[in-house]
Symmetry: C2
Subunit: 209 residues, 2 copies
């Protein structure tokens, strides 16, 4: 792509650094910004800088927050003896959107993945064990990705906690609601058969953690 302007080229290069944005998409976004009022572009830029420089990570659960302690951890109405362990902030947003979970969270920041150079020390595992060691926690609910890295992380943390009196659970795996049986992969289908549940549980199904 040949640009007639260095300013334009720099802006396109910056946008093209974002994940999933190619140079053609970047050009489209930049030309859109160019048509906006100068004030709108200033607002866009300031919002990004403000986010980057003023954001906190909750010192309890490592969730993103405007305050040193996030609004979930500081909410006395939530069950502080139930901790849901997730990989990223996006998982917290997804679970919060269900409005069915009333415990607190712990954001690991990823899963153990030796191939990507991510070991336990890069993740917030020690602080999770520290929280459990305080003795207030009754249950750890793991909601990690259903793959080898997620399972490794689950196994590693369970092992570390085996002498502590805490119940360790994981979210149910099975055929998704609205999912067609014939298109489900074999592993999911096989596991959903071996983990079959009584019909009365299924029909009266309400998440009540």
């Amino acid at each position: 792509m040949t640009f007639s302007s260095t300013l334009l080229e720099n802006a396109v290069e910056e946008f093209a650094k974002l994940p999933g944005i190619g140079r053609k998409t970047a050009l489209r976004l930049v030309l859109y910004l160019l048509k906006r009022d100068s004030g709108e572009v200033h607002l866009f830029s300031e919002t990004m800088v403000k986010l980057r420089d003023e954001i906190h990570f909750c010192s309890e659960c490592h969730n993103i927050s405007d305050e040193p302690i996030c609004h979930i951890c500081s909410d006395r109405a939530r069950k502080h003896d139930l901790i849901c362990v997730v990989e990223t902030i996006r998982d917290v947003i997804a679970i919060e959107s269900t409005q069915q979970y009333h415990g607190v969270y712990h954001v690991l920041g990823g899963v153990i993945s030796p191939l990507d150079g991510i070991g336990p020390e890069q993740l917030q595992i020690d602080s999770l064990i520290g929280r459990v060691q305080q003795g207030q926690t009754l249950e750890l609910l793991f909601a990690l990705s259903p793959n080898i890295q997620g399972d490794t992380t689950l196994f590693y943390i369970s092992k570390k906690l085996q002498n502590l009196p805490v119940k360790i659970t994981t979210i149910a795996r099975g055929i998704a609601f609205g999912g067609e049986l014939e298109y489900a992969d074999e592993l999911t289908l096989a596991r959903s058969i071996s983990n079959r549940m009584p019909v009365e549980n299924y029909l009266g199904n309400q998440i009540q953690p």
Copy 2:
């Protein structure tokens, strides 16, 4: 989507204003920026503001430019008697990428489209006629979209220029290179038959404007 941070929510809203970016994609992009160094985010923001506030539109051809006159219009090696009329800056970039066109451009800023409230007065048509009236132009090459709005614009401008001694041409329409005949639409196929060309032209085909 429920956010645990107003700063995060504002940033996602700003990204989601961009065309083709939904809230989930916006969140992914914002979380990516959050992981970068503060300096990188500042650079990203400053580049956008700088582009918006310092960019020029060439006073000759209305192309985007770092200077009041763009580098194409100020290039004495180019043929200034041949003007390619395009809709947007993106078309200039596309044609420049071929490295086969050595004339200059005129960016209309769109095409006549009464349904979208775009009439001739919103476009750079008067300045195009002004350029032709200076008497230096031998040929106007139209490279507009092959649709009713593009054809209307072509017709409107040709009518305005009918008493001036300038040749008006349009880029060739036909089956694209690599295009399968059976998947071409009927109009394109019909036109490519009625506008058939001698084989010697086709084989020796080099754009030599």
